[in-house]
């Protein structure tokens, strides 16, 4: 009997990652920038200053060797503040994305596999959440929870409006996968529903879940900035949103302290673009059709 050559999943992951970086420039850019951002977050552990205390450095200094990105009007070092802000924004985005992806995936799977009334109810709910203007309602929620706002509760509030996109997509996929002939083959091979979902259908669904996860992080970070602009965020915690909030509160732009405003704005823009490139890279590259092409190309 021939030995079954099992592919090492870790090795397979790196092979895919290497290919994606090699053949998709957008993905490569996004991937490296996010890695850089994560390194900055890591640096925050070595920060000489506590991000929550004010007046630890001289105010309003322009960028210099001592203060790489200058200091702000409340006496904080912008660079070290930034290292915390990235980390917190990432944490916030991840909380939202974990909740939203879980709920969205479950809703999509249930609606798709159960069908019938469950499907109709879930999808009406889903579509309602997509069409509704989320901001006024989120403001409402954040306003009610104002006293208890921190990065994690913010993430939870934001997840209320971010699950339906994934749900809709996954349901559509399940519906088409369910009717594929190989599903019937799997069924008559005696595989139970659990096995069919996870072994047969998940390879098709996973790329979308991953891409959706990253898009949700993107959306969540952006939305936090919005709420922060309205003063509805955990204002003493440094995030990209609160950095912008304080800089506008202190009229930094009009007073010429451009490094205070520009730093979070430029970083956020780069981050958004990177996340988007990574997520579209994943959908494009892990799309079963492309994946098939790759399998074929390797022969």
């Amino acid at each position: 009997m021939i030995e079954r050559k099992r592919e090492n999943p870790v090795k397979a992951f790196f092979v895919i990652l290497r290919d994606m970086i090699k053949y998709n420039k957008g993905f490569a850019f996004g991937f490296f920038f996010i890695m850089l951002a994560l390194c900055l977050t890591f640096l925050s552990f070595f920060s000489p200053y506590n991000p929550k205390s004010w007046n630890v450095v001289p105010k309003d200094l322009p960028p210099s060797l001592k203060h790489l990105l200058g200091t702000n009007s409340v006496g904080q070092d912008v660079f070290w503040l930034l290292t915390f802000a990235i980390g917190n924004s990432f944490l916030l985005g991840s909380v939202t994305a974990i909740i939203a992806s879980t709920v969205g995936t479950i809703v999509g799977l249930v609606a798709g596999y159960k069908g019938g009334i469950a499907d109709r109810i879930l999808m009406s709910l889903n579509d309602t959440f997509i069409v509704l203007p989320s901001l006024p309602i989120l403001i409402f929620l954040a306003f009610s929870l104002r006293e208890n706002l921190n990065v994690v509760t913010m993430g939870m509030i934001l997840s209320v409006f971010s699950w339906p996109w994934g749900g809709r997509q996954i349901r559509a996929m399940v519906l088409s996968l369910r009717e594929r002939e190989f599903t019937y083959t799997a069924d008559s091979s005696g595989m139970n529903t659990f096995k069919i979902v996870f072994k047969e259908h998940f390879p098709f669904i996973i790329p979308w879940v991953m891409a959706n996860f990253i898009n949700t992080i993107l959306w969540s970070i952006g939305m936090e900035v919005t709420l922060a602009v309205f003063g509805l965020s955990s204002l003493e915690t440094p995030t990209i949103g609160t950095m912008i909030y304080w800089s506008t509160q202190y009229q930094a732009l009009f007073r010429g302290i451009w490094w205070w405003v520009l730093t979070p704005v430029v970083l956020a823009v780069l981050l958004f673009v990177s996340l988007f490139f990574v997520s579209s890279g994943i959908t494009e590259f892990l799309d079963p059709r492309t994946r098939l092409q790759r399998i074929k190309a390797r022969g």
Partner: protein, 334 residues
């Protein structure tokens, strides 16, 4: 239910609701179908008809994939819509196995083909461990003229259409089923390989005692391989009987038209009669009475009003008023 029947389909109907979230229209895909196959006497039974005739829906109901709207399906005396526990369901799946139309769609394109063979061997308790399974799988593959080493670690696209289709059949054979339901199994297979699969069906019947329900639109292959045939039209079985009788001396006007229209692979016997196609398709699904009445040259008033019933003529059942009164003078009518 009599135990001597392998399959018995009684007044089976399927109604689909199509279009519209609120006001969908009804489509009767299968209308009160009746057929049966004897146990202990393996045969190849063809379900033939054009697209939309309901042949695939009927087959999928027998397979248990689609739930019937009304009627019963008995398999070895058991009503398959009422199978209760896991054990019974697993028994039924083992007994009745499907073969699908598009061999490349039948296997997940992202997975290697032998996965399904091993799954089948393991899940139904046919093999206890991997090496035993490998033996079972290899045996099944050899039965269809392949071997495990030929398909091992291959993706579906790395094999030819004929090879994948034979692998599909091998997979279905692992459970040693009594009934195979093959939906257009050769329509996507190249002509040069088609006959080998049909010949294999024949061998399955004679050597392994497997009965086969063969679903096709191609009457020539049906004639070649099968023993009995049911012709379907717009959800109805309009004619059912021995293949030789139905295809060489068709009784139902629709069967006659169908047979007339098949191009023959013989340049000396081209059509000389002209046919007229319907200008605008009439909604035949909606029509009262016989669905074929609009296109039938023998149509009588009654055909537009009443639904015809099965008449036993010349060893077969025909759903046509032409034969309802005078069973004897069949020949003269045509």
């Amino acid at each position: 239910m009599p135990e001597n029947k392998l399959v018995e389909v009684k007044d089976l109907s399927k109604v689909f609701i199509i279009g519209g979230r609120f006001f969908g229209s009804k489509l009767v895909a299968v209308n009160k179908a009746n057929l049966s196959m004897d146990a202990g006497k393996p045969e190849i039974f063809t379900l033939a008809g054009e697209s939309g005739s309901g042949k695939t829906t009927l087959a999928r109901m027998i397979l248990g994939i689609i739930e019937p709207t009304s009627g019963h399906i008995y398999y070895k005396g058991k009503d398959i819509t009422k199978l209760k526990n896991k054990k019974q369901k697993s028994w039924f799946k083992r007994e009745v196995q499907p073969i699908f139309q598009n061999p490349f769609e039948a296997f997940n394109p992202l997975k290697r083909v032998e996965t399904y063979l091993f799954e089948t061997a393991m899940n139904f308790g046919i093999a206890k461990n991997k090496s035993e399974a490998a033996q079972v799988v290899d045996e099944a593959l050899r039965a269809v003229g392949l071997s495990l080493s030929e398909v091992y670690q291959r993706y579906p696209h790395e094999l030819s259409g004929g090879q994948v289709q034979r692998t599909c059949i091998a997979r279905a054979l692992i459970t040693k089923p009594s009934l195979l339901i093959a939906d257009e199994p050769v329509s996507m297979v190249d002509a040069s390989l088609r006959m080998s699969i049909l010949n294999f069906f024949h061998k399955l019947k004679t050597d392994y005692g497997v009965s086969i329900i063969y679903i096709t639109h191609d009457l020539a292959t049906a004639y070649y391989v099968s023993d009995r045939i049911a012709i379907m039209y717009r959800g109805y079985i309009v004619e059912l009987g021995p293949i030789e009788k139905v295809l060489t001396n068709p009784l139902h006007p629709y069967t006659q038209l169908l047979l007339e229209s098949i191009p023959k692979p013989d340049p000396d016997r081209r059509w000389n009669k002209r046919i007229k196609l319907a200008d605008i398709e009439v909604k035949e699904y909606m029509a009262l009475g016989c669905k074929f009445a609009n296109r039938c040259q023998y149509a009588m008033d009654k055909c537009y009003k009443e639904e015809p019933f099965d008449v036993e003529v010349d060893e077969r059942k025909v759903k046509c008023f032409l034969y309802s009164d005078e069973k004897a003078s069949v020949g003269s009518k045509i």
